[in-house]
Structure formats: structure tokens, C-alpha cells
Assembly symmetry: C2
Homo-oligomer: 105 residues x 2
DNA sequence: TGACAATATGTCAGATTCGACATATATTTT
DNA sequence: AAAATATATGTCGAATCTGACATATTGTCA
């Protein structure tokens, strides 16, 4: 779609730009947020591939359903630490983690 | 050197095995520890490549020299979260992180 | 539709992790 | 080898993160 969407938006008087610009994030912060989202997504995909409910997953992780929901939503109260431990607990391979990292680029 | 070292050790009456076996870690715990160590090493390598002292690095990370030392030592009081934020703050690329992950395999 | 399972969101006390400081131990320079 | 620099280790109050629970919302099937 290239510039189509953007120029249409401009006509309507919208300002355009990246989320990063809008929130005034540094590159580092943006990378951090992106990383969290990629890992969160990887976690959800893995859980679903294993055909587990969030409650099932919570048991394996020795956590609670609500926390699993927050992990998958990359909620601000969830650390990268927890996300990674959760992925490992569901059997994610280093390869899988590496792929998630790559997606941030 | 294959089995040489191991068999020599056996002759001397040493028990052999992995650190994981010795400490009785689950696969998940072992992977977590390994991950921490790889990231810690990557951080140190990056800092040195940038010719920064731990104090210099601490300033960029808005942290303290002692904490940087602990990060590089993969100290138990340092979270993966902090390690990753530190790497990003020093400008590590997603590619670099992916490589560190891979090394865990 | 209404019941039921799954997921999402808000809150909080206890646990963990944080930066900072003091101090010990290398390592380098003179 | 003493001084100067760099790194490592111990401790602590404050800040953040965690699991658990309550509750709301969404999705699914009879």
C-alpha cells in the first residue's frame, strides 16, 4: 500500500508517524517494548500449539491464570525475566527464542 | 580430546557428570542459568568492545558500578530483565541477542 | 438466548530486584 | 613497590514484580 494510507490520513488532517515518535521513546525503550511483545506473542503461540488453556499453562508455570493472561498481553507489570522463564517452562528451545529476538530487528 | 579427560578422572576415583546433574537442576532451570551466563558474557564483551569501564557503562545504564559487575558475573540478584535492558542500552542489536540465545543450545 | 468455559483486568500483601554506598581485591601505571 | 584505576563483593532501604484472588469481558455451544 506504500504511501496510500498515509496520504489519505493527511487529507483528513491526521498527523502520522510511528508509535515510538508519538510516545517519545528512545531507541532503547522502543527495542525493549518490541522485545517484550515478540516474546509475549511467542509464548501465546507456544501455549496454543501445545493445546493448553491459560489455566493449564499457569499450573506448569506455578503461576496463576491472570498472570498468564498478562504475560501474553505483555502487560507492564510483567518482566522480561518472567516471560523468558515461562517460555522455557513450556519447553521453548533457544532456537525459538533466537527467532523471536530476530523479529525485533 | 574426547573421553580422555573423563577416563583419567575415573582412574583417580573422581565422579564425573554435568553441573546440572550435580546440582539437580531441571532442564528448564539449567536453560535459564545458561541463558543468563550467555547474556552476561555478551554484555561484558560489548562493554569492552566499546572501551568502557564499568563506571562508564553504569552511567549509560543509569546504574552503579557494583551492579554492572554483578550483571557481568550473572549474579543471582540480577534479573534477565536487567541484563537485556543493559545490552540494549549499550546498543546491542537484536541480531546480537539472537546469537547469544543460540549459544545456549 | 442463556449457561459455561476461556480470557482479560484490577488490586494487594509479600517476595524479589533495584541503585547506591562501603569496602575488598585485582590490575595497571609510574 | 607504591599509587592509581578498575573490578568484585556485602549490605540495605526503596522500588518493582509476583502469585493469588475477585470480577469483568469475551467467546462457544446447546
Amino acid at each position: 500500500m506504500q504511501t496510500t494510507k498515509k496520504s489519505k490520513a493527511a487529507k483528513k488532517g491526521w498527523r502520522t508517524g510511528t508509535v515510538q515518535e508519538f510516545l517519545g521513546l528512545t531507541d532503547e525503550e522502543a527495542a525493549y517494548v518490541e522485545l517484550r511483545h515478540q516474546l509475549a506473542k511467542a509464548l501465546q503461540e507456544l501455549r496454543i500449539r501445545l493445546k493448553l488453556t491459560q489455566i493449564d499453562a499457569a499450573k506448569r508455570l506455578k503461576s496463576s491464570q491472570s498472570r498468564v493472561a498478562k504475560m501474553e498481553a505483555a502487560d507492564a507489570t510483567v518482566s522480561l525475566d518472567l516471560l523468558l522463564r515461562a517460555l522455557l517452562a513450556l519447553g521453548a528451545s533457544p532456537e525459538m527464542l533466537a527467532r523471536a529476538m530476530r523479529r525485533c530487528a
